[in-house]
Amino acid sequence: MSKIMTMRDAVARFVPHGSSVVMGAALESLIPFAAGHEIIRRQKRDLTLIGPISDILFDQLIGAGCVRKVIAAWVGNVSAGLGHNYRRACEQGIPHRLEVIDHSNFTISLALLAGGLGAPYIPTYSLLGTDIPRTNPGFRQSLSPFGGEKILLVPSLQPDVAILHVQRSDENGNAHAWGNLGISEEAALASQRIIIVAEEIVLHQIIVSDPNRVIAPSFKVCAVVREPGGAHPSPVQGYYNRDHEYYHEYHRLTRTVEGNAEWLGQWVAEVKDRAGYLQKLGKERRQGLQLKEHRYAAPVDYGY
C-alpha cells in the first residue's frame, strides 16, 4: 500500500501539537528543512525537538514559536555561529520560554539507541565531572555493578516521530540513505513512527537490489513525501551541495526580532510549499549548488 502523501498531509496527520520530533539526525546534511517549514506554516505548538546539533532548523522552529522543549547537544548555526532565536528564547523568553535538556552528541545517541533497543538506559564514562548532568535531570550518576567504577546512566528516549530526509525511497517507505548517517538509524528505531522525505521515489526493485543501504524498516514508516530540494540549504550527497551563503544570510537577518519575522515571512509564510520556496530561491542559485561531477559506487553482487 502506498504511503505517499503531500508534506501538508504528513505534517497535519503525524505531527500533532505537543509531539516529540527528531529532526536533523544526520547532523549537517540531510536536514528536513521542508518538513520544518511546513510545521511552521501549520502553526504547530508545544513541540519537543530532539536532535544532536540540528544546524539552523531548530533555531527557525524556536523563532516561529512552535517549540516548548529542546532535548539536544547543540543548537546554533554551524558555519556562521550562534542561533539568535535560541538565544532570545533562553535569555529573554522571546517568543516564549524554552525548557532545555542538555546532552552531548554521544549521550543523545545513547538515549536514542536505548530507546530503539527497548532498554531503560545505557551507561557511559562521558560527561563525568561536567555540569551537563545539572541541566539534564534525567541523568543519574552511579557505580558499575561489575567493576565499581563511576558511570553516568543515560535514560532512553522514545520520540513520537522521526523525520528523515533521504536520497530515495519506494512508495512504502523502504528508503536508501548514504553518506554519514549521524543518529538517523537510532532515531528511526527509537521513535514510534517515521516520516520519510525523499528526493526521489523509485521502484521497489531498486531499493531491494541493495538492502544494506536501507535506513530503517518500512513497517515503521507512516508517510512518504516526495520533496526534491527538501533539504536545502543542507546538502544531499549525489543530489546537491550545501548552500553556505544561505546560512550566513539567515544569521544576519535573524539578529533582530523584526529581521526574524521578515525571514519567516519571506521564506516560510509567503511560500505555499517547497516548490514555491525553490522558485523563490531561483534557478541560478539552484544551479550553483548542482554536482560538479558524479562519483558512482561500484555495483555490488547480491547473487547466490
Binding site: 554551524v78 550562534l82 554521544f106 563525568l128 554519514n180
Partner: protein
C-alpha cells in the same frame, strides 16, 4: 612573511598532530589543521569526524562543516555517529580538537551558559561532541580567541572537562584518562603542567610578549621556564593553508 592570527593557529594546531595518530577533528580551524598536518609531517594520521566519517586523506576542498559532500566522497568509512563515539570511549582516539567560548586555568571549557543556567545572561550553543572529546580522548587541544573575558579564573559551567580543580580531579570524578595538552589562542600557546593540571604559557605569537598575554588573561599567569616565540608558519605551510582556503573563509 605576512599571515593572519588564524593562519598561525592552524599551523600550531597541525604541529600538535603526530604521524600515525587517530585524530578527532572538530569544526572550523582544526579541519584545515588536519589537512595541513597530512601534507607536512603526519601523512599517516587518520581523521575521525563525529557525524560518522573516517578519512585518511584531507577532503579535496574547503569544508564549511564536517558533513559537507567533499568530506564524504573518498572517505574510508561513512557510518553512524555512535561508532565514532564508541571508538572514542574505547580509547582509540589519540587526539581531539575542540573550540571554546570560555575557559579557565585548568582547561575546563564552557560552551553552554554564561551566568546562571536557570536564567542565563548568554545562552551558548552547547556541547555538541566537545564534552565527549574532552572526557574520552587520550588528550585534547583547545583552539579559541584570546580575550580577558574568555580566559577566566573559573568557568560558570563545565561543558567540557579539563583538569577540574587541579591534579587528581579527573581520576576522582571517574574520567579514566586524557585532559588538555595544549591551548592555542589568537595570542599564544599554553601547555599543561601535569603535576598541577594548570595551563602554563609555552609560547607567545610573534608581536606578543609574556606581558601582553598576561594583560589579556583572567588568571595569575604561569610561564614556562623555556617560554619562547611561537614559530611562524613557514612559506610551505602558508601555501598549503591558502590553497585549501583560498577565499580565507576560516583563516582571514
Amino acid at each position: 612573511m605576512d599571515y593572519t592570527p588564524q593562519e598561525i593557529m592552524v599551523a600550531a594546531a597541525a604541529r600538535e598532530i603526530r604521524d600515525g595518530e587517530i585524530v578527532f577533528t572538530g569544526m572550523r580551524l582544526p579541519l584545515i589543521a588536519f589537512a595541513l598536518a597530512k601534507q607536512m609531517h603526519a601523512p599517516n594520521a587518520v581523521g575521525l569526524f563525529e557525524c560518522g566519517l573516517v578519512r585518511d586523506t584531507p577532503a579535496p576542498e574547503l569544508l564549511y562543516t564536517m558533513g559537507d559532500p567533499p568530506n564524504i566522497a573518498g572517505a574510508l568509512w561513512a557510518t553512524r555517529m555512535i561508532n565514532m563515539m564508541g571508538l572514542l570511549q574505547r580509547g582509540a582516539v589519540d587526539l581531539g580538537f575542540i573550540g571554546g567560548a570560555e575557559m579557565d586555568r585548568f582547561g575546563n571549557l564552557n560552551t553552554s551558559y554564561l551566568g546562571n543556567p536557570e536564567s542565563p545572561k548568554t545562552k551558548l550553543p552547547g556541547s555538541g561532541g566537545a564534552a565527549d572529546i574532552a572526557s574520552l580522548s587520550r588528550r585534547f587541544v583547545v583552539i579559541m580567541a584570546h580575550e580577558k573575558r574568555r580566559l577566566v579564573e573559573r568557568v560558570d559551567y563545565i561543558t567540557s572537562p579539563g583538569f577540574g580543580d587541579g591534579q587528581g580531579w579527573r581520576k576522582r570524578v571517574g574520567l579514566r584518562h586524557g585532559g588538555p595538552s595544549a591551548i592555542i589562542t589568537t595570542l599564544c600557546v599554553f601547555g599543561f603542567e601535569s603535576s598541577i593540571g594548570e595551563a602554563v604559557l609555552r609560547s607567545y605569537h610573534p608581536g606578543q610578549s609574556v606581558a601582553s598575554v598576561r594583560a589579556e588573561t583572567g588568571w595569575d599567569l604561569r610561564v614556562a621556564e623555556d617560554v619562547h616565540e611561537t614559530a611562524s608558519p613557514t612559506a610551505e605551510e602558508l601555501t598549503i593553508i591558502r590553497r585549501y582556503d583560498p577565499q580565507g573563509f576560516w583563516t582571514r
